[in-house]
Amino acid sequence: MRFFALIVAAFAILSLPLTANEAPTAEHATAHAAAAHDGGHEEHGLPNAAPVLFKIGPLPVNSSMIITWVVALLLIGLARRATKNIRASKDAAAIVPCGAQNFWEFLVEGLHNFLGEIIGHHLVKKTFWFFATIFIFILATNWFGLLPGVGTIGTGHVDAKGLFHLDHPFLRGGNADLNMTAAMALTFFAYWLVLAVMENRHGKTGAEGVLTGIWGVLKHLFAPKGKETGFMKWFMIVIFFAVGILELISIAFRPVSLSFRLYGNVFAGENILESMQNIVPALAPILPIPFYFLELLVGLVQALVFMLLTSVFTLLICEHEEEPGEKAHH
């Protein structure tokens, strides 16, 4: 556990020079604005893509990747630490959770109930690990990205006027990198496909189950719903086939919109904080503060939105239409 104390201490020390660095003198802010004007139409603020720090073989490693590793390590470490002493308690009084364990239990239980209300008891048992991980990880990454020191410590260059420009910050908000959010959205998409097939098996197993599952998914998308007969039935088949194609397009756009939404919110938030510091030089220390709290809220809401949308997408494909035979049981 000394390791974590060390990490925390390292960040505390790292953020010390930052206050000095950020202490917004009017000269600094105007110089910043002037530098932005010099750059022509190049926008000042965060670059769209996270700067690459170094390469491992052919794989570039950027500052957003590093922050996701740090957050993942922190989360794993905190969770392990909270659950380390669970089995050790022998007497009944010691079983009552407290401290870190209590916090994690509160979080996980709250999420479990929350998801259970939305996607139902059956699905939440199977998919809770995924949605809870997504939520906790996105929330932690978003809030970690708001710590002082993230995005402001790094290497840079000194320009002709003697001003320092930060080119390669060591850390940058993890979700302010489209690769990260796209990776999460595509992971969900793969999991969604597997889950859709598994949930539409109707009790069959093995290869037959998979085939039934795939057929079930296709039926889910293209088959007509309702009980028309005669000519209307054929009409409905055509209509629902067209609807199925539209549905396919909308499904194909889901990973795109999921990743853009999260990236856009976090990236725009970081940009707003920076712009607010530069917009009125005299108010530079005060102006970003309300937006900082807005970003705290946005970080929570976006984590919630990502979890809610993914869980609702899952629910939509896994919902079974009640068949006549099944209806008798209810």
Binding site: S257, G264, V305, L308
Partner: protein, 73 residues
């Protein structure tokens, strides 16, 4: 002439994003209005209404990001 043309391309990009932002802001506002009214009418359903409102607001908001990335072209 080229400068004017360049200015106008920049202008259309901004209008494009601005209109998308306007539309989705109205959309999110309507969703919030609906959610607030629904909660006022039936406070017992506040949890369900909130979930639906968050999901729908996220969907309405997503349009702006499409607009931003398409405007970048």
């Amino acid at each position: 002439m080229n400068i004017i043309a360049a200015e106008f391309t920049a202008l259309t990009g901004s209008i494009h994003i601005g209109l998308a932002a306007l539309g989705s802001a109205i959309g999110v506002g309507l969703i919030g209005k609906g959610a607030a009214e629904a909660t006022g009418r039936n406070p017992g359903a506040a949890g369900a209404v909130r979930n639906i409102a968050i999901i729908l607001a996220a969907l309405a908001e997503g349009i702006v990001f499409f607009a931003i990335y398409l405007a970048g072209k």
